[in-house]
């Protein structure tokens, strides 16, 4: 397994994409740090960018990477190694590379200009979202036989979780505005990893006070021990199930 991971990582780090992505993230972070001295404003701006960009890049890159590496995968499948290990080594290599890019690209400016707990949370959310969307991308890749279709599915999932889902939640809240909806919205947030990441970030900032009663309720929930446990559990589930399902499909796929 480690051997396979070594070769998969070696291959991925040699591609220019890893460097371009890291430099891009670093440039974004540096420019935002230049604009404002207020750390909470910096982290809010960085969050808005991260929450849109990271899932998108993860989804597209992971799908293309899977299809570009099909040769390597086929070569390994004829060797005395386990199928699941071939798959997991590819998955972990992509997650590791994307996470490293975020940690270096956003982390270096933080080391230079200072960070608070919200910025550390931001890094964690970035890493988690990379893992979630890489899982989705690999799932899309193994259930299709065509690169274009797989990218289509990955993008559709990104649009759904980043845009469509929020619209749906807003519509729901607006339609049932007369009822107490805090717990329902909380439940709905758990069903979307992007929203969950966003809320976790917002709770670190003071602006939750601006979100009215729901904001106060969320603040109370996410600062309680149970709330942290539940949201962390939900995020872990989001990181695990797409990859595990993809691994099962991969195990039964013909090459």
């Amino acid at each position: 397994m480690l051997k396979l991971l070594k070769y998969a990582l070696y291959d991925i780090l040699k591609s220019r994409f890893a460097i371009i992505y890291t430099v891009f993230l670093a440039m974004v972070a540096v420019s935002i740090y230049q604009v404002s001295d207020d750390l909470s404003k910096v982290s809010l701006s960085l969050m808005n960018i991260l929450i849109m960009i990271v899932p998108l890049i993860s989804a597209v890159f992971a799908t293309t990477h899977f299809y570009n590496n099909l040769e390597f995968i086929e070569l390994m499948l004829a060797q005395p190694v386990k199928r699941s290990q071939v798959f997991l080594s590819q998955l972990f290599a992509v997650i590791l590379m994307l996470s490293l890019s975020i940690v270096i690209g956003f982390g270096l400016p933080m080391v230079l200009w200072g960070a608070d707990s919200s910025l550390i949370t931001l890094l964690a959310v970035g890493v988690i979202l990379s893992a979630v969307f890489t899982g989705f991308a690999f799932l899309a890749s193994v259930i299709t036989r065509d690169k274009a279709k797989a990218i289509g599915i990955s993008l559709a999932l990104w649009i759904y979780f980043s845009l469509v889902y929020d619209g749906f939640v807003l519509y729901l809240i607006y339609s049932f505005a007369d009822y107490p909806l805090e717990k329902v919205t909380l439940g709905l947030v758990m069903l979307n990893p992007v929203d969950l990441g966003r809320i976790l970030m917002l709770m670190q900032l003071d602006i939750s006070a601006l979100m009215g009663y729901t904001g106060a309720f969320f603040q109370q929930f996410f600062s309680s021990g149970l709330g942290v446990l539940v949201s962390a559990g939900a995020l872990v589930l989001w990181m695990l199930w797409p990859g595990m399902l993809a691994s099962r499909v991969f195990g039964k796929r013909d090459f």
Partner: protein, 247 residues
């Protein structure tokens, strides 16, 4: 050594292998023939575990290969179209493959030397021509001195000198008592390299016996007319079944 017990495989609606039964014994060299799309490559990939049959099982040395991977240590596989990581160099590819089978310390470098792959070990796989890639595939298949060699169209795309080098290597391995499976459309190569003929037609075994008895049954003295006759028979069989179904 390898027995294929009634495996069936469908790709979508197309039934590629139908209750397919065969066994391969050590010390023999088998020619697997059949028209394009008859299921040769699917059979080979099933033995390697890359294609998973819908029904039936495959035994290697008496053990089912389902869910196992260690049996692949015994197999050297040369694919029809060798596909390799584009930005990996030849030398790196070889050291990676050696790394995948750490328990094997003695390498068979005959083909590496004869194809002079050492001289181009810094070239990356993406820049190689089809023929050179075939040479790499061949050298990798023989590298670990495996007991079973599966060669899918080994001579296609190679230049005449390389073909002769590869053929003499296959003959040497055959004499040392290995099990060799070769698919090819070049009948003269097959006649030279194999002693058993298997003809697959539409996912079923149409003929499976020694080349000698193939010649006897078809009452031909040479290999290629014998195969041609076999192909004519399959066509007749096909037309009769068609008539029956339309009647």
């Amino acid at each position: 050594m390898i027995s294929v017990n009634a495996i069936s495989k469908k790709f979508g609606k197309q039934e590629v292998l139908k209750e397919f039964k065969l066994s391969f014994e050590k010390g023999n060299s088998y020619a697997i023939m059949g028209p394009n799309g008859s299921g040769k490559t699917t059979l080979i990939k099933s033995i390697l575990g890359m294609v998973l049959p819908d029904k039936g099982e495959i035994l290697v040395n008496g053990q089912s290969i389902k869910g196992r991977n260690d049996y692949r240590q015994l197999i050297g596989y040369m694919p029809q179209i060798g596909r390799y990581p584009q930005n990996m160099k030849i030398g790196q590819l070889f050291s990676m493959m050696k790394d995948m089978r750490p328990e094997i310390k003695q390498y068979d470098l005959d083909l590496v030397e004869e194809f002079e792959l050492d001289k181009i070990k810094d070239k990356s796989m993406g820049t190689l021509s089809g023929g050179t890639r075939q040479k790499v595939s061949a050298a990798l298949a023989f590298l670990f001195n495996p007991e079973i060699l599966i060669l899918d169209e080994p001579t296609a795309g190679l230049d005449p000198i390389a073909v002769e080098i590869l053929k003499s290597k296959i003959k040497r391995e055959r004499e040392s008592g290995k099990l060799i499976l070769i698919t090819s459309h070049i009948l003269s190569d097959l006649e030279e390299l194999t002693n058993q003929a298997i003809y697959i037609f539409e996912g079923e075994v149409f003929f499976n016996d020694s080349i000698e008895s193939l010649k006897e049954i078809t009452s031909e003295e040479k290999f290629s007319p014998a195969i041609a006759k076999l192909m004519q028979w399959t066509l007749k069989k096909k037309s009769t079944t068609k008539v029956l179904t339309y009647a």
